[in-house]
Subunit: 360 residues, 2 copies
Amino acid sequence: MNTSHFPRLDLNADVVTLTAALVDIPSESKDEGQIADAVEDALESVGHLSVDRENNTVVARTHLDRTERVLIGGHLDTVPSAGNLPHRLADGYLHGLGSCDMKGGVAVSLRLAQRLANPKRDVTYVYYECEEIESKFNGLKMLADRRPELLLADFAILMEPSNAGVEAGCQGTLRAKVHTVGTRAHSARAWLGENAVHQAAEILTRLGAYEPARVTIDGLEYREGLNAVGIAGGVAGNVIPDECVVTVNYRFAPNMSTTAAEDHVRQVFDGYRVEVVDLAPGALPGMALPAAQAFIAAVGGEPQPKFGWTDVARFAELGIPAVNYGPGDPSLAHAADERVPIAELVACEDRMVHWLTRDR
Amino acid sequence: MNTSHFPRLDLNADVVTLTAALVDIPSESKDEGQIADAVEDALESVGHLSVDRENNTVVARTHLDRTERVLIGGHLDTVPSAGNLPHRLADGYLHGLGSCDMKGGVAVSLRLAQRLANPKRDVTYVYYECEEIESKFNGLKMLADRRPELLLADFAILMEPSNAGVEAGCQGTLRAKVHTVGTRAHSARAWLGENAVHQAAEILTRLGAYEPARVTIDGLEYREGLNAVGIAGGVAGNVIPDECVVTVNYRFAPNMSTTAAEDHVRQVFDGYRVEVVDLAPGALPGMALPAAQAFIAAVGGEPQPKFGWTDVARFAELGIPAVNYGPGDPSLAHAADERVPIAELVACEDRMVHWLTRDR
C-alpha cells in the first residue's frame, strides 16, 4: 500500500519524461521537501547506491574503490513561478519553471545514477536545496559544514545550464541593501516631512547609468553587472515614507576579491548607507588543471566563461577542481519563457555516460 | 463577574487619563475590535444614551426631541506604529501613536457623551473604524450605506486635530499605482532583460521635481501635494525585476473635481500605466452656512483651511454642513513624535460643553 504523499519518480523513464516530472513538482527555494522526498525515494530503490539525506539535500554514492571519485551536483530549487507551470513540450523544447535551471541537469544526473552500476570512476551524486537564495541557506554549504565527508571528490561537475558545453569558472556575487532615510509626516502636509522614496531616484539613476566592466581571463571574457533586484518603501497610503531600501546585486569577474567588490559597490553608492547582505567569491576558470582538461577532451567543444555564480566557487574553496556542464541556455534561467532543448538533455546524458564508462 | 477580554474605559476619568487609556489600546486600521468593544461597553453604562454598533463602529445618541441634532464624529483607528507606544506624558503633552490623530478628539467626545445628560441640542456621537486606509473600508461610509438613519443630523463636527480651532472644508485625495514593466532575466546576464526598477527612476524624478499648487477659496489658502507613499518591485535576489509599482497620493484643493484630479495625475505620469485605486472628493469650506457660523461664534477663533482629507467631505456629500474641530496639531498626525497638548484637550472639552449647554 502506498500511503506517502509525494509524487513518485520513475528513474527508468527517458530523460525528457523525467525532466517533465521534476518540473511539475514545485520547489521554490525553502520549499524543496516534496521534491527531495521524491528523489530520495527513487534513489533508495537503486541497488548500487548508498543514500544519505540532510534536511532537503540528498547524496547518493557508488562504492567501487575506484582510484578517482567524481562529484555530479545539481540543485533542486527554483526561483518563484512566473506562471510557467506545469511543463509543456513544444518545438523541440521542454518548457516550464526550472526546466533549464536546472531540473534538466538533475534529470540527467538521476538517469546516470540509475543506469551506471559499474562506472569507471566512483560517483557521488548530490541533489541540494536553496541554491537560488542567500548563500547562507545553500545545501552544498550546509554539507560542507556538517557532513564534509560526503563531498570528498577529485573533480566536480555542476550540471548548471551551459548549452551542453563546458563553462569555466564563475563570477562572484554580492547583494546589498542601499538605504535612504527621510522623515514621516501626513501626506496632506508633505512639506513637513522628507520623502525617502523620492530620494531613491538618485540611486536608481546611478544604476541606470552604470557601465559594467568586461574582463578577460584565460582567453574567456567575463561580463559584470550591477542591478536593482528589489525595492521597497512605504508606511501607509497617507504617510510620507521615512525609509526606502533598494536591493542591488553586483556580479563581478572571478579575479576580483570579495573585499574589492564590496569597496566598489560602496563607492558607487557613496552618500548612502550600504548594507552587504550576501557575498560569494567567484572562481577562476582553472583551464590548466589536468582533471578539467581530461573532462573537456571527453565531452568535446570549446570552454566558455560562466557569467552566473555557481557552486563551482564553493568547490574551488574546498580545493576540488570543478566545471559547469549541463543542458539548457543559461540566458533563459529565471526567464518567464524558460525552456531546455530536448536534444541537449539527450546529448548530455550520452556524453556523461561515455565519459564515466570508457577506459581512461 | 467580569469575563471579557478588552480593557475597560472609565468615562468619569479626566480627559487626559481617558486619552492615555485610548492610546494604549492599539487600533491600527482593520484591527479596531478591542477599542470598539471598550467604547461600546463604556457607553452602554451611560443611562441617557442609546447605543448601536455596526462592525467596529459605535453610535450613541440622546433622544430629547430637541429642534436641532448635531453629530460629533471621530475615528478609532490609527496608522501603523512608529515605535511610539505606549503613551507618555511630558512637557505639557501626551505623546504616543494616535494621541493627536485622533484619540484626543475621541476622548473629548466620550467625555461629552458621559457628562451631558441634558444638552440643548440632541447629539449623535459616532466612533468609527478604518479612516486611515482606502475609503471603501471607511466606517462612516459603511454607516451611510447600511444605517443612514444613524447619521441624520443638522450639523456635524469632526474632532480631527485642528489646533483646537475650526478648520474648514478639506482637500480631496487620490491614490494611484504607477507601473513600470520590464523583462525578467537572470541577474548574472542583466543585458538580456529590462530592469523595471531602474525605469522607476524617471517616476521618482518627476515626483521630486513636482511643484504643488496653492489655491485660495473663501480667503483660505489650500496647499496641494503629490507624493510617493510606497514603492515595491522585485522577484528574487538574482532576477532582473519585470515590474515595479510606485503608489502615489495626490492631495487636491476642494474646488477641483475628482475627474480633473485623475486627469492631472495621468498627465504627470504620461507614458506610464496609471491605476487609480482610491479617490475621494474634497469639501468646499462653506463658511457662509448659518450652522457653521453659529459654531464658529460659540467656540471662537479664526477658521483655517483643512489640508488633509477628512470625512467632512462625506458629510458634504450627504448634505450635512460640517467642520473640523479638535485638539492637536494636524502637522504631527502620522509623525513618529505624534503628541497632543494637554491644554487643548481640556479647552476643547470646555468649549464643546459650553456650546452644547448654553442657551441659543
